[in-house]
Structures are given as C-alpha cells and as structure tokens.
C-alpha cells in the first residue's frame, strides 16, 4: 500500500543493468554499416542467442503480470497458454514453416507474403502489423510507467520518457542485434530475478503439496469442484460453468491451441524476426525449438506465484491479501479521518462515505468493527489505514506479483526483481520497435513510397523510423492510459488481426492453387468478420461497448476468454473459406516455378540427415511434444 523505498543497493543494481544495455548498444554500433545490419542483423547470430531472444520477445512484462493474475484467478489451467497455446505451434514453425521464411530470403513476414502473393497482401499485413506493434509497445510502456508510479512513487511522465529514452539509445546504436542481445540479458534477469520469489513463496505456504491441498479450499470457496484450481483439464471437460475461466474444451483446443496459438507463433513477425536473424537455416529452424524448452517450464515461474498468492490469502496467520486496486494516499488519509469521526451509531453512514471516498466496494462488517475498535480504544493512523486496506472488497489481480516481491524480497533482492521487471518492459518495447522499423522501412516505405534508393538511404530511414516508432509508442502509451485492462485489448487486437492470418499462411504455404486475390480478400474478410463478431457478441457480466456487443447482442459467452477464443475460431474459418472459394474462382498469376521455395509441395525437402540427431528440428520437436504431453498428463 505504501510506495516501496528502494535502498542504494537496489538503485545500484538498476543502474548497472541500464549501463550494460547501453554498453551493448555502443559496442555493437561499429558493426552497423548497412540497413541489413541494422534491421535484420545480417543473419549472423548463433541459435541459443536467437532462441532465448525469441522467447524473451514473447515474455513481455505484461505476461509476467497477467500470468500471475490468471494463476490466481484460474489456477493451473492458465498453463494451457503454454502447453496448448505455445509449444505445438512453436514446433510447427520450426519444422514446417521456417524453411520458407528463411529459405525465401524474405526480410520480414509481410515480405514473404509479397513473394508468395503480391503487394496488396503484404501491404494489408504490414499496416496491420505496424499498428499492432506500436499499440503493444505503448500498452506495455503505459503499464511500466503506471507501475513505477504506484510502486516507487515516480512521476508517470518521467518514468515513461526516461525508459523510452534508454530503449531509443540502445536500439538506435545497435539495431536489431542490440534488441536481441538485451532480450537474452533480460531472459536471464527474469529467470534469476523471480526464481527466489517463487521458492520463498512455496516455502512459506508449506511446499507444493500443501499448496495443492489449499487450492482445493480456494476452489470450493468459489463454488467449483475442488480440483478447479489444481487440475488443468478435468475442469474444462465439465464445460464452461465448471471452470473459473468459463471456457469449453473446443474453444480451448481449437480457439487457443490452434487458431490463436499458430496465428501468433507462426506469423507474428515480432518473434519470427528473431529466428530470421539466425546465422544459417539449421540455426533458424532450431530457434523456436530452443525457445520452446524454457517456454514449457515458464508456468512454474509466472503462474505458480499467482497460485501461491491465493493460497496465502486463505491463511489468516500470513497477514496477506490479494492487493486491492491502487488508491491514492490522499484518499486513504481522507478515509482515515472519516473512520476517526465515526462512532458505532453513525457507522452505516460513515461506511457509505468511506466507500465513496475510496472509489471501491468495502466490506461493511470489517469496517464496522474497525470503527467500533477505534471508538473503544484509539487506534493509530497506521492501524486504521491497515484496517481500511484490509476491508476493501475488491481485488486487483495484476498487483499479485508485486505484492509477493514486496513480501519476500529484502533490499538487494528487491532491486534485482524490480530490475528484471523493468528490463522486461524495456525489451518488450525494443522488440516491438525493431519489428516495426523493419516492416515500415522495407515493406511500406521502400515498397510503396520511396523505391530504388541506395542502401544508405534505407539505413538512415531505419534509424529515423526507430525514433518515430518510439515517439508513436509513447503516444499509444498515453492513449492506453485511458483504458484499464490492457491485456484484454491486446488479446482483442490479436484476435482481430492474427486469427485470420494463419489461414492465409496455411493455404499459401501448403496449397499452390491459392491466388493473391483470394488471399487478399480472404484476409480482409477475416479481419472484418472479427470486428463484426465482436460487435455482435458479449461476455456475461460486461456492458455493451468496448468489450463487444456495441451493435447488438446476438450471443452471450460465459467469459471474455471464451468470447476471444470463439472470435478467433470464427475469423479463421471465414478467412479460410473465403480464400479457398475466391482462389478457385480466380486465375493463378504465379507459375509453379515462381512458387519454388515458397510453397511446400514445390520446394525440395530439407534433409537434416547430415546433422547430428540432437540438432534435427523434427527429432527434437517430437521429443519436446512428448514431454509436453507428459506435463499435460501430470497436471490432468
């Protein structure tokens, strides 16, 4: 509730990290000679580095915050975002799709679409992607600035601009390589910064078995069967009303596991760009494979803290609650005065007043006893404040991870965890900006506006775009400040743009008959159908508006997550069917020879038999899938 006071040791760790990322930028600056060095790393980076950057570009800070929140709200089922929603798609990307991305020598995902189809499809994808990356970056920076404001008492604007400036400096100096290197640094920061928090949390609640035991109580208290928080699959099989996510198994497996997951991992240039920067084809294909190993175990780092938090909240002796929504200190001060002024006789009126002052629902019983206690024996301001804090009847799950960091980390470790968090926000921005500047410079600026200039021109265009990208991200951050649930908006945008996209790639890569016109109108129809679907459906408990249903409510879903998964499934199907039908109705413009290296059936197969067995993507991929199945089975 109070801002955290950092010690000199915490600031030293923070400053050391910033100094190192800036140093990496400066050290790389002398290798930046062409636009390719700056925007694509000139395909020069070893597998383990691109692999960790691949996963790190995905592991944004919002994911850390959001996954802990979901872990608290939904339990171990949240791991489906990893075991169902990531691993299979990453392996598919490595085995089947990377050969085309890397082999075609495309410099970006939209550029592959240009080679396979035409400029229209590329333009549509490039614009949608550019807008999306800027918003993703802005939303993440907004969250960072808000967090530094609430947690450390920093000024919002100062936090936003100073962090953006650091990102700008190192990306401007070292380009994509700089972003990739800092992503790897951030990967280790996150793992090594949060592992002790998970360990201490588990130790505090009595270990893994004790946690699962207590989760049964959590589940039954919330009106579910006792395995709703501790089993991943059984609550889903029971249907939407039997699991806290409100999701059915079809939406989970098809919506998340196929459409959203493949749409994200296989076509999102932000992650695919990391694999494209690899030094050779084997390294490129192994990038998602390397990435999927840590990805598989991330739930223990990012979801388990949320589960620990809900268990802690059920233990009275631990003096812990899921944090309430952030409320300004002045409002607390005002509420303290109201508690002091109240007597047991005026308690009812005072409670209504306090609730209005705080702008949150309160537990009347707890406040009444607080007022009575204060009337009988005067409490100190601090005691009253704690009483008020504990009587707020709303939970802010996004605050879970920080509340644990604050609870378990002494000065020193606290600096490490906060630096890890800051690192992940900043590298999220850097990742988005580097993807944005490649797509803008090569696929929009060079392709449509200023063609045929020298490489030096595009090198400088890339640098200018970096500055513009950062400034636009900041603008998006101020825009995002207006909206509360940033994660929902991101999911929504992914649904609109990414879900139909995988249908285009699937048909484009595996069916030579797909035409450019079919792909363009199919994709366009897919995105439009997402918007229409969203305008006509809503999740239970939401008011029509930004959450959907603003035209009319045709169908109501049990939860927002279910609505998102179904929206994605719908958009994918529309895009698939439209592309198929229009392709059959239009003439092919590209011959088989044109499509060599771009379409599966027209490309000589990649043989890995000259590679050692542990470097063959297909072999390792199958092994990892088996491990993934075992994990699902274990948490059944």
């Amino acid at each position: 509730m109070q801002p955290i006071l950092l010690q000199w040791i915490d600031y030293t760790i923070l400053i050391a990290y910033v100094a190192f990322v800036l140093g990496i930028g400066w050290a790389l600056a002398r290798y930046m000679k062409t636009s390719a060095d700056f925007l694509t790393s000139a395909r020069s980076i070893p597998t383990w580095v691109t692999g960790l950057a691949f996963i790190s570009a995905n592991l944004g800070a919002l994911e850390l915050v959001g996954m802990a929140a979901s872990g608290a709200k939904y339990g171990i089922s949240t791991a489906h975002f990893y075991w169902v929603g990531a691993i299979p798609a990453m392996i598919f990307l490595a085995v089947f799709m990377m050969p085309f991305y890397y082999g075609s020598k495309a410099r970006s995902v939209p550029e592959y679409l240009q080679m396979r189809f035409d400029n229209r499809v590329m333009g549509l994808n490039a614009i949608a992607f550019a807008v999306m990356t800027l918003f993703a970056s802005g939303i993440s920076m907004n969250a960072l600035a808000k967090l530094l404001n609430q947690l450390l008492g920093w000024n919002y604007d100062f936090a936003l601009w100073i962090c953006s400036a650091v990102v700008l400096l190192y990306v401007l100096k070292g380009g994509l390589t700089s972003a990739i290197y800092t992503e790897v640094l951030q990967f280790f920061m996150i793992v090594l910064g949060f592992a002790p928090v998970v360990y201490l949390g588990l130790k505090d609640i009595g270990g893994w078995t004790a946690m699962n035991h207590s989760l049964k109580t959590v589940a039954t208290n919330n009106g579910f069967a006792d395995n709703a928080w501790s089993s991943a699959w059984q609550p889903l099989i029971g249907g939407p009303s039997h699991n806290p996510m409100g999701v059915d198994i079809f939406a989970m497996v098809f919506g998340l596991g196929f459409v959203l997951s493949f749409g994200y991992w296989c076509t999102n240039f932000l992650v695919v760009q990391r694999a494209m920067a690899a030094k050779n084809m084997t390294a490129a294909r192994n990038t998602p494979i390397v990435a999927s190993i840590p990805k598989m175990f991330f739930p223990f780092l990012v979801i388990v803290p949320g589960m620990i938090a809900v268990v802690l909240a059920t233990m009275p002796d631990k003096n812990y609650r899921i944090p309430p929504p952030p409320i300004a200190q002045e409002k607390y001060a005002q509420a303290i005065d109201e508690v002091k002024a109240a007597t047991p006789d005026t308690a009812a009126a005072a409670i209504t007043g306090i609730s209005t002052t705080l702008g949150a629902k309160v537990d009347a019983g707890k406040l009444t006893s607080l007022i009575t206690d204060n009337a009988t024996a005067k409490l100190t301001d601090a005691q009253i404040k704690t009483g008020i804090y504990n009587s707020i009847a709303e939970n802010d799950y996004d605050g879970v991870i920080f509340s644990l960091v604050k609870k378990y980390c002494p000065a020193g470790l606290l600096g490490l965890a906060l630096t890890a968090l800051l690192a992940s926000f900043m590298s999220g921005m850097a990742g988005n900006v580097t993807a944005f500047n490649t797509v803008w410079t090569y696929n929009l600026y060079q392709a449509f506006f200023v063609k045929g200039k020298s490489d030096t021109h595009y090198f400088w265009a890339g640098k200018v775009t970096t500055i513009a990208g950062i400034l636009l991200s900041i603008a998006c951050a101020y825009f995002a400040k207006q909206y509360n649930n940033a994660m929902d908006i991101i999911q929504l945008v992914f649904g609109f743009v990414n879900a139909p996209l995988f249908a285009t790639f699937l048909l484009g890569m595996f069916w030579a008959r797909t035409t450019a016109t079919g792909a363009f109108f199919g994709l366009f129809g897919g995105i439009a159908s997402s918007a229409v679907f969203h305008a006509l459906t809503i999740a239970k408990g939401n008011a029509p508006g930004v959450k959907g249903g603003y035209l009319s409510v045709v169908s109501t879903f049990p939860s927002e997550m279910a609505q998102n998964f179904w929206l994605a499934s719908f958009a994918f199907t529309v895009c698939l069917v439209l592309t198929l039908v229009i392709s059959l109705a239009t003439a092919r413009t590209k011959s088989d020879a044109d499509l060599k290296g771009l379409v599966y059936s027209l490309t000589p197969k990649t043989f890995d038999s000259n590679q050692p067995i542990w470097q063959r993507p297909a072999v390792v991929g199958v092994v990892l899938l088996i491990v993934c199945v075992i994990m699902n089975w274990y948490f059944w």
Partner: protein
C-alpha cells in the same frame, strides 16, 4: 556480430552477484527472508552463473567457432 554476448551477461551477473553477496554478508540482518539470508545465497548463485558465462566467453575467444 563481433560481440560475444557471453561477455556482457557474464560481467553483469558477476558484478550483481558480488554486490548482492557483499550486501548479504555485511548487512545480514537486512537480508533475511523467512530466516534465510537470501541476498547472500542468491548473490552466490548469480556470481556462479556470471563466472560460468565469462568462462564460456574466454573459451569462445580462444577457439572461435567456424562460421
């Protein structure tokens, strides 16, 4: 690219490891969490990781990988 990433990773974690270990040793009473001197323990883990990375970087410099 000419810069081996293991250098910055190794140097940074060695530095942070030394800082945390030192802080844990000197200010033991401020470093406790659940009865463990977590700064000291975790500082040593970070230090070990940093040194491991530096070791890799030095080895990589002696035997540059064939590109």
């Amino acid at each position: 690219m000419g810069l081996d990433i293991r250098w910055p990773i190794g140097l940074m974690f060695t530095l942070i490891g030394v800082l945390l270990t030192g802080y844990g040793a000197v200010k033991a009473s401020d470093s406790m969490s659940l009865g463990i001197n977590i700064n000291l323990v975790w500082g040593l883990v970070l230090l070990a990781f940093g040194v491991f990375m530096l070791f890799g970087a030095i080895k990589g410099k002696k035997n540059p990988p064939a590109v």
